[in-house]
Amino acid sequence: MLSSHNNALKMAAEITDPFDLPGPSERPGLRDMDASMRCTICQEFYDAPVTLSCGHCFCSLCIRNSLAEKPECPQCRKSSSDVHFRPNPTVEQAVEAWKAARPCILKLLKETADLLSRANAAPVEAHSRSSKPVKKRKRTQSVDSVASIELVEPQTAIKSSEGKSVREAVGCPICNKQVLYCNINTHMDSGCSKHVVSRRSTQPTQATRWQGIFTGDNNSKGKQKSSGSEDSNAPLPKLAYGTMKEKAIRELLVEHGLSTHGDKAALVARHRQWVMMYNANLDKSEKNRKPLKELRKELKTWEDGSKSKKVVVEDTVAHEKKYRSEFTDLVEKAKASSSARKAPSVPISSPPLETTSDDADVVPDSEDEAPQ
């Protein structure tokens, strides 16, 4: 109980929304700015934003989930599918910048509010005069220095052949891939093929660079298997699970290092979610992509979360008494269906029928599984 309460507290602390910022009457634009950086499905900051053909933008995973349910844009209801996706690195960049700026803005707002309230609360002239000017000078100084850095930077950047900056990875303005600063020109001259940095970290070590060379970077030796798949940019295809044997799906899961626990429905759900998460990850710009290990972990938390909470029965005897009639009913049904299965009229190759009665909402993948 206590831990769940703690979780709730933690969640409240970690959730951000546009209402953290002052409204338009106080600070025009700020709250709207925050809102426009958020996906309208999950209300979080865009994660791997993609644009549909109608122009509306969502997190890749959100819209993939939504389209799986219904093939239209949730905002304007124009029909859409994932072949129309365009990753939107511009929005991704803007969101990153805003996420970095947000705490500073909140802090600044708080500081000014504090200053104002202090100034109002303590009208003693001498006191406020002794403390205020010092602060003011500090701030103007820092503002000055920031401005001068910004002005000077473009010129010094060319000169700065000393130090680390040359060895630093920068994003190519054409292909958006990471390239060492000293190689950027030859990279662009080569039509964006040479000198691409393959690692995820922005500060490469010698070792990882050598590793990149030894493993052959873009050579498709490992193909889809093991670590080789981490480098490939090809999205995973959607599959018609209905026509596939359980064994084939199991093999696919093994190929991606995923659990093969559960019945066919569970396997299919797991693989389908994996394909969505994997492809959504590819919609991020390369430096933001998560390693497959992390994706696997997320898949696991998704699976744990989507399972309906188990009802814990404490008093088993009372439970049995209470539901006796339903139990006997179910037993009767099970007997009947097992004898029906033994009967010769049933085709031999038919997959095991599930004994669900109605529950149309529990079987979202019915169209894939229905060819019988």
């Binding site: 969640m11 959730i15 209402f19 989507s306 909402d361």
Partner: protein, 165 residues
């Protein structure tokens, strides 16, 4: 890690606390991310003047991809409003709660839509198949396949964010 649905609901709740609900709609209960209750009242001139009804939302872990289960509360002397698309057990036949649901809709958007559904009603009557439906209705209205026919497709409602630009 908090699930997507509870994070999203936490944000919606935060917005309600920060901005308040639209006129005539009041948050009555939101102790968890499973069941919320709102009171709903039609403002101005309408057939439902002076009536106040309790609306219940139930969320599953796939919210907002899947719609919430919405119905009027009919217990403790409360009754569902008499309307050609509201059954006497509280179930509502509205397209945005079924096949017209969109994950960009929110709890408040649903409340506003149902409020306007009541406000625009011309004649107070139950659905024609009320008795038949109520007799066999499932507990969860989402398990019912309603037919959204005729003029009620206008219930399609897009939130203000759609016209933000």
């Amino acid at each position: 890690m908090a699930s997507i649905s509870s994070r999203r609901l936490a944000k919606e709740l935060n917005e309600i606390h920060a901005q308040g609900c639209p006129v005539g709609i009041e948050l009555k209960q939101a102790d968890d991310f499973v069941t919320w209750r709102f009171s709903i009242e039609v403002m101005g001139e309408s057939l439902y003047k002076g009536e106040k009804h309790l609306l219940q939302f139930r969320f599953d872990p796939s919210y907002p991809i899947s719609s919430p289960a919405v119905q009027f509360v009919v217990e403790d002397g409360r009754e569902a409003p008499i309307h050609p698309h509201v059954y006497s057990n509280g179930h509502i036949c509205a397209s945005i709660l079924g096949n017209e649901w969109s994950p960009v809709l929110s709890v408040v958007a649903v409340c506003v839509t149902l409020q306007s559904m009541l406000a625009s009603c011309k004649k107070k009557e139950r659905p024609v198949d009320n008795d038949r439906y109520v007799k066999n209705a499932p507990d969860n209205p989402k398990k019912t396949r309603f037919h959204y026919d005729g003029p009620y497709l206008f219930l399609r409602y897009l939130p203000a964010t759609a016209t933000r630009d």
